[in-house]
Amino acid sequence: MSSTAAAAGHIDHHHDATTTTGIPHKKLFMWAFLASDCMFFGSLIATHLIYRLHPPVGTIDPRDIFSIELTSGSTFVLLMSSLLMALSVNSIQKGNVVTTRKMLLGTIVFGLIFLGGQVYEFNHFVKVGGLTLSNDVFGSTFYTLTGTHGTHVAIGVLWLVLMYIRTFKPADDSAGQGWILRGLFHFLTFTALVVFGMYTLLALIHAFEMGHGFGYYFSHHLPSFTGSLALLGGLFWFAKPRGAVDFGEANAIDVESMGLYWHFVDIVWIVIFPVVYLLEYVVLP
């Protein structure tokens, strides 16, 4: 239960002697849930495809609004987040909490970049492409499908953040439950950073896109920029070492179950990206 490397290698991560099959309950649960989720996304993707095969007259041509470069980029980032997720599972199985934290943070950042890309894309489609939920059935199915996937990613990010905060639970239980309150503030700081940080980055990108440069940016967005820096500092303060933690090799199954979910959501995107985006460019004879 400690974070020291001495405890490493004491747990067989591929066989749980307390269950009939040797598969931990949580892992089996997650596999069964993912089977269920396959049908969930299957129904949504089927709906989208049916309406692409039977488009109403005068429907929008998706090729006019898609930006394959942007979506390819965020797809790549999402896939790489799966690599970091796998590395965090790997490091917690070896009892290495510090690396686990870094990898969790990396997964969170990559997941957020993907979500940011989706926010940007939706915004672009509505404002520039003129595609909304309720002016075209393509908009209905597209936003519902990709939005549901985005919701899954967001839930994954939330789970990752909660797991990250969980790694700071002190091993010494006699100190009371103060860590839960600290964890709550940790969580709030993290959430605020995500919101302000995303705003800051998007504003920065926007400033450069418009050719305004740093001076213009700082004169207009100084509060959000400094606020983000302060929140980032807060995150460092929360991450300060405070003695042994009650998180280690024994929690590998929790991280692994979360990882299964995260990989699954990525795999769903591997289906959605070709089917929803790339297929539009295939010209049938």
Partner: protein
């Protein structure tokens, strides 16, 4: 009441986990009696009981709705209830009976019996199990809110065909939320069913007693497993369909909106991709119960065990490939129609195999005609009749004549009442002695069987004819010159006889619960593990984890007493060496999280999005506290039964 459900006092002693310094908020409740013990329970037997009581309540509600329908149809041009009320009644009758009566009653047996049959002390995720129940109750409340508010009950049929669910057709006034309540209610029930089923899957695969290989599982447990897989794989389809309806109603999308290019037929496909497996979700548990009862009262092992299990799997699998037989008259084209006809006919094969195996079990058996056996035999016969009319529907040309007529109504009531309900009533009789330690009187049990049997057939057999003569379903009245008058009157009389039979059945159950004859353990001379424990079962189920050596595990134990005793002593010593029996602690957070879902959904139906977010905050808070509250758990040290030594070795 608490005492007779689960015997809380057991011989031996209980050891609390060493207290860490925790505030009350993070300390798990340990009430053994009283209302708090029920609200916070994680005991699979209590949760099963809660499911059962709720299901029976809604069974009576759905029955009352059915009687309203039959009263309205008793005579031509009747105006007992208005067309609008009639629509609400048939919508809620079907929704209630399927989602709030048969499914939870099956879930009651899954919860109560399945862990006992596999020799487990609880399910894999006890708190999640409680959550599934409270979520079920939340969904049931949302569906039935219409009784008490201006919007009224949902009125577009349990199938909710588009475009009947669109705002244009289903909203009588601005803010009419009857359809929204139906959408959210089913959505919450779906989450509950999927969570419960995931739990059962993990429990059956991962928590079997040593030696209990898959091919030694009791058939009821097998059917629980198949049903759970059907639920997790079919419910997502209706979840998505309902999300799409919700998007259409609340956010102006065009999924089923013809004006925007939507295709209403898509709803039918999505609905029946769920809806047909749902039919097997209703019948497979019943088949499992029957496969337990027939061998027990025939004094023979189940005939063809592997093929019965395999047939269950094949039924479940084929069940995903036949949904369009509900849509033969929509003009799918000849190829699709032929394919779905063939697939549907193919399902008759594994079903027939099961029927023959049950007959094989009865064949040359030493039949004991007790009440559960009567219901079970009634099941085999009535279910078979429903199956025959089902095969008639599978032929698309014949179905084109029968579609939406009372012939279909007769068919599915034969498989759902004659099938599911008969088996569930049989199961209640069969396991009642185990659950409560009392036995229903044979006279009253058999009397209720015959009244139910007669009433059921008087109601539904004549409906075949009136259906073939063209009487349409879901129409609130008919003209007197159609030649349907006498049959409808007979059916209404039959419905009341059926109602009286059900009333007798439950009156006898309630009487037996309080005053019935007390009996010793294993009254039917059973062969599965649930009969090896005292009745009512102790909180921890098994003093010693059973070791399974044969398919009919308890039967083997009875015939190898010396060997089993020695083995049990050994296992008990090992358990003690590992610190005794570990039991999970109660928790408040399943019910709190479910309350968050309930309030959030109700606010959402009212288009009050602030309130809906408030509900989500409660859900998040509940889930957060759920994960950080103490791990809980405590150890039990049972001593040998019958000994008064309350404080044996530590």
């Amino acid at each position: 009441m608490d005492q007779s459900l689960t015997k809380n006092e057991f011989i031996g002693h209980e050891e609390r986990a060493p207290e860490a310094r925790r505030s009350w908020l993070f300390t798990r409740p340990d009430h053994k009696t009283g209302i708090v013990s029920w609200l916070t329970t994680v005991d699979h037997k209590r949760i099963g009981f809660l499911y059962g009581i709720s299901a029976l309540f809604f069974f009576l509600v759905g029955g009352a709705e059915a009687l309203m329908i039959r009263l309205q149809l008793a005579v031509p041009n009747n105006d007992f209830i208005s067309a609008q009320t009639y629509n609400e009644m048939f919508t809620m009758h079907a929704t209630t009976m399927i989602f709030l009566a048969v499914m939870p009653l099956s879930a009651a047996f899954f919860n109560y019996i399945m862990p006992l049959q596999i020799g487990a002390r609880d399910v894999a995720f006890p708190r999640l199990n409680g959550f599934a129940y409270w979520l079920f109750l939340a969904g049931a409340i949302i569906l039935n809110v219409g009784f008490f508010v201006k919007s009224g009950l949902p009125d577009m049929g349990w199938f909710g065909y588009a475009p009947l669910t669109s705002t244009a057709f289903s909203s009588e006034f601005a803010g009419d939320m009857s359809t929204d309540l139906w959408v959210m209610g089913l959505q919450v029930l779906g989450v509950s069913s999927v969570i419960g089923s995931l739990n059962f899957i993990v429990t059956i695969i991962n928590m079997r007693a040593p030696g209990l290989t898959m091919m030694r599982l009791p058939v009821f447990t097998w059917m629980t497993l198949f049903t759970a897989f059907l639920i997790i794989l079919s419910f997502p389809a209706i979840t998505i369909a309902l999300v799409e309806v919700m998007m259409d109603r609340n956010f102006g999308t065009f999924f089923f909106e013809v004006s925007g290019g939507g295709l209403p037929i898509l709803w039918q496909h999505l609905f029946w991709v769920f809806g047909h497996p749902e039919v097997y979700i209703l019948i497979l548990p019943a088949m499992g119960i029957i496969s337990e009862i027939l061998p027990c009262f025939s004094r023979k092992p189940l005939f063809g065990y592997p093929i019965v299990v395999f047939s269950g799997a094949v039924i479940g699998l084929l069940g995903f490939g036949v949904w369009s037989h509900h849509m033969f008259t929509t003009g799918m084209g000849t190829v699709a129609t032929a394919a779905f006809t063939l697939a549907t006919m193919a399902i008759a094969v594994p079903t027939g195999v099961k029927i023959f195996n049950w007959i094989g079990t009865l064949w040359q058996g030493n039949l004991m005609m007790r009440t559960p056996m009567m219901f079970a035999l009634g099941f085999v016969w009535m279910f078979m009749m429903g199956g025959f009319s089902g095969i008639m529907h599978s032929a698309a040309p014949a179905d084109a004549q029968q579609q939406d007529s009372y012939f279909v109504v007769a068919h599915f009531h034969y498989v759902l009442i004659g099938g599911s309900i008969f088996a569930l009533l049989a199961g209640i009789h069969y396991w009642f002695p185990l659950m409560f330690g009392r036995k229903v009187s044979e006279f009253w049990g058999k009397l209720s069987f015959w009244v139910i049997f007669a009433g059921f057939n008087i109601t539904f057999f004549p409906l075949h004819f009136v259906g073939l003569n063209g009487m349409p379903r879901r129409t609130f009245t008919y003209d007197g010159n159609m030649g349907w008058n006498s049959i409808n009157m007979i059916a209404t009389i039959g419905a009341f006889i059926l109602g009286i039979g059900i009333a007798v059945y439950f009156a006898v159950m309630i009487y037996t619960y309080f005053k019935g004859e007390k009996i010793k353990r294993d009254p039917w001379d059973g062969r599965t593990l649930e009969w090896s424990i005292p009745n009512p079962p102790p909180h921890h189920n098994f003093d010693v984890t059973p070791q399974v050596h044969a398919r009919d595990a308890f039967w083997y134990e009875k015939h190898h007493q010396a060997e089993i005793d020695a083995e049990k002593a050994k296992v008990a010593a090992e358990d003690e060496a590992h610190g005794g029996i570990h039991m999970p602690s109660n928790s408040w957070f399943p019910v709190i999280t479910a309350i968050g879902m309930l309030t959030g959904s109700l606010f959402f139906c009212n288009d009050n999005f602030i309130g809906a977010i408030g509900g989500l905050v409660i859900v998040f808070f509940g889930a957060w506290m759920w994960s950080v509250e103490g791990p809980g758990g405590y150890h039990l040290h049972p001593t040998k039964e019958g000994s008064d030594d309350a404080d044996a070795q530590h």
